[in-house]
């Protein structure tokens, strides 16, 4: 708890996070701790089923942790109701998760509409975000998700998370469903974008290239536990164990 009063401002901090789903003996997530400071990008990586999504959902309080502490923007999860908690966090999911019955504009402005922001603000903000994600407003705002390509959907998903300008973003395999070319260009766009926005971002991915490219902090998980966390350098030069070495090698990055 001493760390809580550190002078350096942390935006996401989890301590000894553990999740056991009811009816299952195994720990889906076990003893996960890490900290992200303001403006940092963290990447959780690991094979399918290792507990990445569960960790992310616990931070967004979609899943109640069995044990452990969560702090976001220096607030403890117990002190804030879950609805306001989530509204402060931009949330991007696999395959964008756009609502099919809403237009691009309606999807992006969903939270603002709920918060009853006025229309002129909404239009201005949606225009702004759509120019950031490189989708011309006039051409795309009235389209439905089914009329967009996968890459375009993913960008709209990111714009939606940014709508109320949250200090923190949680992203679950945001580029997972895309072809390599689109993914690469989105990586670059995204990187440039955050140079301007300075959001604290936690990205879940199963693509090590992505993690190394975007992450200030890379967190490798296996079977619910953190195997190693650190920078790209740490992973390449100081792999914690054989598993990490194999994992990095398997991805063809060495």
């Amino acid at each position: 708890m001493v760390e809580l009063f550190n002078t350096r401002k942390f935006m996401i901090k989890v301590e000894k996070l553990t999740k056991i789903f009811p009816g299952s003996g195994a720990k889906a997530v076990e003893d996960v701790s890490f900290t992200l400071e303001k403006g940092e990008i963290g990447c959780i990586i690991g094979t399918s089923g290792c507990g990445k999504t569960t960790t992310l959902k616990m931070i967004n309080r979609l899943i109640e942790p069995t044990e452990g502490q969560i702090f976001v923007d220096e607030n403890h999860s117990h002190t804030v109701d879950p609805i306001s908690w989530r509204r402060k966090i931009g949330y991007v999911v696999q395959k964008a998760g756009l609502l099919p019955h809403m237009t691009v504009k309606q999807n992006i402005s969903l939270l603002s509409t709920i918060l009853e922001k006025d229309q002129s603000y909404i239009t201005r903000r949606v225009r702004e975000l759509m120019s950031i994600i490189n989708l011309p407003y006039d051409e795309y705002q009235e389209r439905y998700p089914s009329e967009l390509s996968g890459g375009q959907q993913q960008r709209v998903g990111i714009a939606r998370a940014l709508m109320e300008d949250p200090p923190i973003m949680l992203m679950d395999e945001p580029f997972g469903a895309l072809d390599p070319v689109t993914r690469n260009s989105l990586h670059s766009e995204f990187w440039d974008l955050n140079q301007k926005l300075h959001k604290t971002i936690l990205i879940v991915t199963h693509d090590l290239t992505e993690a190394f490219k975007l992450g200030d902090l890379v967190i490798l998980m296996d079977q619910g536990k953190i195997v190693q966390k650190g920078s790209k350098e740490d992973f390449l030069k100081r792999p914690a164990n054989k598993f990490v070495e194999e994992f990095v090698k398997g991805e063809g990055l060495v």
């Binding site: 959902k57 967004n60 979609l62 609805i83 306001s84 989530r86 509204r87 949330y91 999911v93 998760g97 609502l99 099919p100 019955h101 809403m102 237009t103 969903l110 939270l111 709920i114 439905y144 998700p145 089914s146 009329e147 939606r160 998370a161």
Partner: protein
């Protein structure tokens, strides 16, 4: 149009409240004779006693009419001593017409507070009839002669005969009529005569006053064991009604021995074969008997269907209003109730396991039976019909709301929650819009069911397009049947299309594109 609507509502309110200034409500069962007699009573009360009268004709059978009378939902209807004796009192043994009349008069008064008039004059008993030219029956005059030899014959009887105590089972046992099970047909009485005439059946249980016995040259086989009790026609009235309307008893006294058997046969024939309106036939008769004054009307019905419909336009409008009020009233109520129920069931699975079997069961109750259950509670007319239709429209809407909402992709819900929507916001902004096509499909099903089933409402005096259909079937009048059938079918199609249009308006283009 508004005036008709208000009138319908008022009539229903009045008949519910039993207000002193209300009109007298006259019922009838759904065959020509009953309708003609009921018309006569109505006309006499209207023209001679200057009372206002409401006609609730073509009620769905003895049980419906009798229950309605007992409850005061109707004040008068015609019936037969034998029916009262055997079917309602469940007695038997006596065959003397005078004595049977005495018994029913006494018992009905003490048991049910219902008064019988003196005999109208004619006896309309059941009679076994065959084709006069059917050589197989050439030498058969008595039912006793049929004992054990009818195995190869086809037999048809009215529905009611199949059910009553003195009906088919005991009848066939008494005379040892060994019909094969699949040779026995239960049929609308109005259609039975055409069936034997066209050789679709060999024997029918005819009504002895039916004009078609003579017209189709049918031969009556004599009831030599005196199996059937006397069926003297008479009028029944609720005692309470006679107290508030003294003219009822005055009118009753004028019916004593008013109609002979031949006269009744003739009038039935006028309606059944010559398509005269029961109203005209009844009125002409009263004029001939000097009970009212007026000019004899002798018009046969318009045979050109378009002109016929046009001539009935006021009646059609009244039917339309009744039908709309019933169907859309029921649908509206169901919509208000079913959607919240359907939604809450998705939230409480254990409740769903209890509720679905119940509403599934309601759905399987035959419409007429459901109406029958409701009569003792709510009487006859608009209210029980509305409730029955309401109950029928519950299932499709609840089921589709439930499965529509259940079927919404869990990812959309989780994502909305993740963005920060509350449960209610997710319901209103995500779940309902996504489930809407399925909910509307449920509404569509309910609408078609309700508009169709609403035709049965006529059987309990609630009017609507069923009214001409049942009277048409009873009097073998296909124009009259079409007068109800065509508009109700059009209404169903039209409503179906309208709800289809609603889908275009209310369902997001985004999900219509996807499918």
């Amino acid at each position: 149009m508004y005036r008709a609507l208000i009138l319908i509502i008022l009539v229903n309110i009045f008949s519910c409240l039993g207000h002193a200034k209300r009109p007298i409500v006259i019922g009838s069962k759904k065959f020509s004779e009953s309708i003609i007699i009921a018309e006569m009573v109505s006309i006499l009360l209207e023209e001679k006693y200057q009372t206002s009268v409401v006609r609730k004709f073509s009620l769905g059978g003895t049980k419906v009419a009798f229950d309605a009378l007992k409850l005061g939902a109707i004040d008068i209807y015609p019936d037969y001593t034998g029916t009262g004796y055997v079917m309602i009192l469940k007695m038997d043994g006596e065959r003397d017409p005078q004595k049977v009349h005495q018994i029913v008069s006494r018992e009905f008064k003490s048991r049910y507070g219902i008064l019988w008039s003196k005999k109208i004059g004619f006896n309309n008993t059941y009679a076994l009839a065959v084709r006069g030219d059917d050589q197989r029956f050439k030498n058969i005059d008595r039912l006793g002669q049929l004992s054990g030899i009818v195995e190869s014959y086809q037999f048809a009887s009215p529905h009611e005969f199949m059910e009553r105590k003195d009906g088919f089972d005991r009848f066939s046992k008494t005379y040892n009529l060994n019909f094969q099970k699949d040779h026995i047909l239960s049929i609308e009485s109005g259609l039975m005569y055409a069936a034997i005439h066209n050789k679709q059946t060999d024997m029918i249980i005819a009504y002895s006053t039916d004009g078609r016995i003579k017209a189709y040259n049918l031969k009556i086989i004599k009831d030599d064991l005196n199996y059937f009790p006397p069926y003297q026609a008479a009028l029944l009235a609720n005692k309470k009604s006679t107290e508030s309307f003294p003219e009822i008893m005055k009118a009753f006294s004028e019916f004593e021995n008013l109609i002979s058997e031949n006269e009744m046969v003739e009038m039935n024939d006028q309606v059944d074969r010559f398509k005269k309106a029961p109203y005209d036939v009844a009125r002409n008769f009263l004029i001939k008997k000097n009970l009212i004054s007026g000019k004899i009307v002798n018009k046969t019905e318009e045979s050109n269907l378009f002109k016929y419909f046009y001539s009935k336009k006021d009646y059609l409008l009244k039917l339309l209003l009744e039908h709309l009020l019933l169907s859309f009233g029921a649908l509206g109520m169901a919509l208000l109730v079913s959607i919240p129920i359907g939604i809450s069931l998705t939230r409480h699975e254990s409740l769903a396991k209890v509720v679905f079997p119940i509403i599934n069961t309601i759905q399987t109750i035959p419409s007429l039976a459901l109406l029958g259950f409701l009569i003792p509670i709510m009487g006859i007319g608009f209210a029980p019909a509305l409730i029955a239709l309401f109950l029928y429209s519950l299932l499709p809407i609840i089921r589709n709301t439930y499965s529509g909402i259940k079927g919404v992709d869990k990812n959309y819900i989780e994502v909305s929650k993740g963005i920060g929507l509350t449960g209610t916001q997710i319901l209103l902004k995500v779940e309902i819009p996504l489930a809407l096509p399925i909910i509307l499909a449920g509404l569509r099903t309910a609408a078609v069911i309700v508009i169709g089933t609403a035709t049965l409402a006529a059987l309990i005096g609630a009017g609507g397009f069923g009214d001409p259909i049942f009277r048409g079937v009873a009097t073998v009048n296909s124009n009259l049947i079409l007068l109800g059938a065509i508009p109700s079918a059009l209404l169903a199609i039209f409503t179906d299309k309208c709800i289809g249009q609603c889908e275009k308006i209310f369902v997001s283009k985004g999900i219509r594109l996807k499918n």
